[in-house]
Subunit: 204 residues, 2 copies
Amino acid sequence: MKTAKDARTRLLEAGTRLFAQRGFDGTSVRDLTRRARANLGAVTYYFGSKAALYHAVIAALAEPLVDRIAQAAQALSQPVDRIEAVVRTFLEYIGTHPELPALILRELASGRRLPPPAEEAMRRNFGVLVDAITAGQRDGTVRPGDPVLLALSVMAQPFHFAIASRVVLAAAGINPADAAVRARMVEHIARAVRWVVATNPKTP
Amino acid sequence: MKTAKDARTRLLEAGTRLFAQRGFDGTSVRDLTRRARANLGAVTYYFGSKAALYHAVIAALAEPLVDRIAQAAQALSQPVDRIEAVVRTFLEYIGTHPELPALILRELASGRRLPPPAEEAMRRNFGVLVDAITAGQRDGTVRPGDPVLLALSVMAQPFHFAIASRVVLAAAGINPADAAVRARMVEHIARAVRWVVATNPKTP
DNA sequence: TTGACATTCATACGTTCGTATGATTCCATA
DNA sequence: TATGGAATCATACGAACGTATGAATGTCAA
């Protein structure tokens, strides 16, 4: 039973890494089982199919993020602080789980519907943000306007940095893996988010 | 010669559509030639390989955008106006060429280096933006700070909308293909960009 | 009209793919 | 120790893949 569960989780880890790195089509069952030190039939045995393993990988990555974002938001009273906390939590999470943005990205690019676990996670995270925005609009601390559009503008900041910084910063001679660089980026994003949503952002 | 060129451009068009829709790996040479009403060997004959066709597709999409952005920026004198013009030009272009963000996205998700034509295009577009930002910082109309980070925050807005709006707005019951919706989105993005960069954005 | 070159075509080769199958090994429980 | 089910294994199948090859066809100058 122990080794059995191990092979399963090893496959999950291999899937996380490889699907993020090479995509679903770019990853073969043979790649997965080789990296997981499991037999070729192990994917079928434990998950039923390659696609089912893929969905399991996404669920395992997305669910903890949803939990953390929900609890980060409810820990603060001021709407703008809640919004910033959501963004910071997101950034912190993808700092330790860089596979998540890569996986989300591939799904968005595909034009297909998101896999069910991803859709559910996105819906819930976005709900937290929209709630904070409408609350801030009620007390005047957040700019008026469509809360959905504002939420998109907010998430654009951390998301785009997660996605594009690698390419852009590398071209600019900056190393996004450096901790100091990363810290500066996080502070910049937090400021930019306040500029986007707050009616009175402190202008530095 | 005429029919020959036709087969080549038909392949280019088929590649644009299919690579954006299904990705490089998800598109077979047989798919491409079937859609282009060309023979299976046509890709090899005209482009040498499937990968070379892919690069040709990206170059054909990216080059006109670079030109338009460069000329849109130099048509205005105020730095913040130039920045907004870059964003609007980008949005307008991807409105008529929705394949471009999908292709860029897949490349970003891949973790690989961008294909040479894409890297060159990105570098030049980003340069236009950074120039406008530093000019604005000199005359005080743009917030101080690292121009590269600011440029990333600017591009995050149109880019994220191009990417995520389909999923998010669909979940919110909004149809992003609707022209009126799209116009509202463009105005929102233009405002958000000013909030991000301008020292004195008109707060609506 | 002929010849030469560009283009289009049918087809075959060798790989790799996802999955299915049945044998084998492992191990907790009786 | 015996046994039954879980887990792991080697292997095979048919399909789809990218590419190479040579024949067939089209096109235009000489």
